[in-house]
Symmetry: C2
Subunit: 166 residues, 2 copies
DNA sequence: ATTTTTGCAAAATGTTTGCAGATAC
DNA sequence: GTATCTGCAAACATTTTGCAAAAAT
């Protein structure tokens, strides 16, 4: 179960995005570029609202609709993936350059860690096959309490660590 | 990986619901009873809209808000669980009398099968522990193509089987 | 009698869409 | 030049809430 975090090749991803636009005879615009670039440059999970804020930092006239439409394009071409953790609005994360991963979410501090586990993946295949299914994809989310949330001495809360870094 | 389907003790569940209402000094009403009973009596997954329709068959004056509020109560006391598969509205399923289970969803016909797999559960615990987390709950959804959807001779689509039974 | 609940309609979310003007090809 | 895109506002879909009348304790 390796923690999945790595350098992201923003320019390469922008290239893939432009390829997709070209193939579909769609146009490459300033807005789409700003939104996609900000999106690719961000680790972790972004809401539409957060991405809009990032994009507006560069071009204040960008509207909600354009972010929604751009994120839909990115999802279509496999460069973004929509996630719905708890309630509320959808979150998006970069996909495509990243290996598949699952999520471990602290129910106390809401921080999201990513992980993969080959053994679980293998068993999932096995389950699907046992029902005659061809497994296409899956979603696995573990919800629990991080060490700090449990009040363990010396334990640290992933969210507080992350915030301390900012 | 046993298929999870069993008799449901509707009266027992109604009892649990009434106990909860009593404990919280909430009132037991005709509407809540109709909604809860219809909900408990239904296998599988129900949307608010479907449950409203079932309830209105018995009492046409029941409104959306009451269904939402009742389902929220049922969720609070652990007798219902909210699920969000793809997009759109939330689905609810009976919980409490039923063992935990995960979902296997056909991306072609949308039918949802339930399963459990102890080995996967064990590995999930292990992953959570390796990050210092106390695992509280999890969500595992497998998306794939059922035999019929894959066009295998003699294969059957779970949804078509289900519809044939109606 | 008091407190909670209901049903309605209005408000609050989160997301999509229609359209006139702007932009990319 | 033509087709697509943008930003806005309006439409939409789902869920929540305020309130006066109704029902439960």
């Amino acid at each position: 179960m390796e923690s999945a975090e790595q350098e992201r090749d923003v320019d390469g991803l922008m290239g893939q995005f432009h390829d997709y636009l070209g193939k579909k005879q769609l146009k490459s615009t300033k807005q789409r570029d700003v939104i996609a670039r900000k999106f690719f440059a961000t680790d972790g999970h972004l809401s539409i609202e957060e991405l809009l804020a990032l994009a507006r930092a560069e071009n204040p006239r960008i509207g909600y609709a354009t972010v929604y439409r751009t994120l839909k394009l990115l999802t279509e071409c496999g460069l973004a993936a929509q996630r719905r953790f708890g309630e509320g609005q959808a979150m998006y994360e970069t996909a495509g350059d990243t290996e598949h991963h699952d999520h471990l979410i602290c129910i106390e501090c809401d921080h999201v860690l990513e992980f993969t586990n080959d053994e679980i993946e293998r068993l999932q295949e096995q389950v699907a096959r046992s029902f005659g299914f061809d497994l296409v994809r899956h979603k696995l989310e573990l919800y629990g309490m991080c060490p700090k949330a449990r009040g363990i001495k010396g334990g640290s809360c992933p969210r507080e660590e992350a915030e301390a870094r900012d």
